[in-house]
Symmetry: C2
Subunit: 215 residues, 2 copies
DNA sequence: TCCGATCGGCACGGTACCGTACCGATAGAG
DNA sequence: CTCTATCGGTACGGTACCGTGCCGATCGGA
C-alpha cells in the first residue's frame, strides 16, 4: 500500500507570509504518555478540518499540537496511521432517545444528526475520511465499523418499535435505517442542497408512514 | 479557507460545444487547442483516480498528459480550477430507459448506477470531489449542478409515471429520488458495505411499493 | 504555402515536507 | 526524592512541487 506520501495543495496551507504559530496556549505545561497522544489526535482533527487532506501533514499536525515531529513518528509510522486513529477519536456515543414512541424517537435522533451535519465540523471531516478511505483499506474498514456504531441507536429504536408491533415483523431494519439516514448524507455531501427543517418529518413520513401499524 | 488566492475560475465555463471531429486525437503527434485541453483533463482524472487528491499536482498531471507545466498554467491558474473542469468532464448523459413501466425503468436506471459504483473509477473520483468540495465553494456549486443533471432521468421517469397515474399526484418526486439513490451512495462511500444484486429491487419495493397505484 | 499561435522541453530559485538523529529538560512513576 | 522514559527543540540532507521564463519546434488556419 502506498505509504503516506500525501501532500495535496488543494486546501493546502501554503502560507508564504507568517509562520502560523499556534501551540495551544491555554493548555498546561507538557503532558506525556496518553496525554500527548490525545493532544496530537485533537490537533490532527483540527488540521484536517481546517486544511483538509492537503494540509494533513506530520509537520502541520505537530505544529498545531505543539509537539515535535519526533513525538509523532514515535507513535505513528505514517500519516495514514495517524489518520486512522484520529478518525476513531471522532466517535461520540449518540444519545439514544427512549420516549417509547417510534416517530418521536426517530425524529429526535435524525434532528440531532441534521444538527451535526449543519453546525459542526463533522461533515467536513467525513469528506476527508471518505476520500482517504477510497485509497486506504484500513481506513475503509475502520470507517465501516464507526458507521455501524453510529447507526446502532437508530436500528435499536426500530427494533424496539417492531417488537412493540408498531412496525411489520418482516421489515428490513438495516435497509430502513439506510433510507432514513442516507438522504441527509446525500444532500449534504453530494447534492450540496440545503436541508430544510421540514425534511426530517418528510423523510420519516415517506419511509415509515406506509409501514406504521396500530398495535 | 486558508488558501488566500484560490483562483478557481467561476465564470470560466467555456464548455466547448465545438465539433471536435478527429478520429482519435489522443496519442497522436501533438494536439493543440481543444485537443490539448481534453488530453490534460483526461490525465487529470487519471491522476485523481490513481493517486487521489494527494497526488493531484500540476506536475503529475502534466507528466501523465505528456504536456508541459507551462501548458497547464496557460489554461488553469491553479489545481482547483483544473479540478473543477476535470469534474465537469466526468459527466456522461445517463441512458434514459423508456419502457413505459415504472418499475422496470427505475430498476434499469438504478442497475446501471450500481454498476457505475461497482465497476468504474467513478466512486473513487466522487470521493475526491466530495472532499475537495468541502473546501472549495466553486467546486461545490459545480458538483451540485452535476448531480442535478445526473438525477434528471430518474426524476423524469417518476414524473411520467405520476402523469400516467401510477404514482400519487402528491408524491414528492425530489425526495423520492433521494430515497431511491442515496442508499447506494451511502453504502459505497460511507458504510463501505457490499451492494448485493438484490438491493435495487428491495429499495424499489420499499420506496415505491407503498405508493404504487393501479390506473 | 506561409505565418502566427500554441506547444513541449528545460532550467531556475524558492518553499514545504519528509524522516532521522541528537540534545537537554521534565513529567510522572516508584 | 530519584530516576528514567518521554517529551520539545533543533538541525540536517533529500525529495517533490511551485510558478515563471525562455527557447525552438510545429501545428493549423488563412
Amino acid at each position: 500500500m502506498p505509504d503516506g506520501e500525501d501532500g495535496t495543495r488543494l486546501g493546502g496551507g501554503d502560507r508564504s507570509g507568517g509562520p502560523e504559530r499556534r501551540p495551544d496556549p491555554g493548555r498546561g505545561p507538557i503532558s506525556r504518555g496518553a496525554g500527548a497522544r490525545r493532544r496530537v489526535l485533537e490537533a490532527a482533527l483540527a488540521v484536517l478540518d481546517a486544511d483538509g487532506l492537503g494540509g494533513f501533514t506530520m509537520e502541520a499536525v505537530a505544529r498545531r499540537a505543539g509537539a515535535s515531529k519526533a513525538t509523532l513518528y514515535r507513535h505513528w509510522p505514517s500519516t495514514g496511521a495517524l489518520l486512522v486513529d484520529a478518525m476513531d477519536a471522532t466517535y461520540r456515543p449518540f444519545p439514544a432517545p427512549a420516549t417509547g414512541r417510534l416517530e418521536s424517537d426517530v425524529a429526535e435522533l435524525l434532528g440531532a444528526f441534521v444538527a451535526l451535519l449543519r453546525d459542526t465540523p463533522f461533515p467536513r471531516l467525513l469528506g476527508s475520511f471518505i476520500a482517504a478511505a477510497e485509497r486506504e483499506p484500513a481506513l475503509a474498514a475502520r470507517h465501516a465499523d464507526l458507521t455501524r456504531r453510529r447507526r446502532e441507536p437508530l436500528v435499536e429504536i426500530l427494533r424496539r418499535a417492531r417488537e412493540r408491533g408498531e412496525l411489520p415483523a418482516a421489515l428490513d431494519l438495516e435497509l430502513t435505517t439506510d433510507l432514513l439516514t442516507a438522504p441527509f448524507f446525500y444532500r449534504r455531501l453530494v447534492a450540496h442542497h440545503p436541508i430544510p427543517p421540514t425534511l426530517v418529518g418528510e423523510v420519516i413520513e415517506q419511509v415509515l408512514g406506509p409501514h406504521r401499524q396500530r398495535r
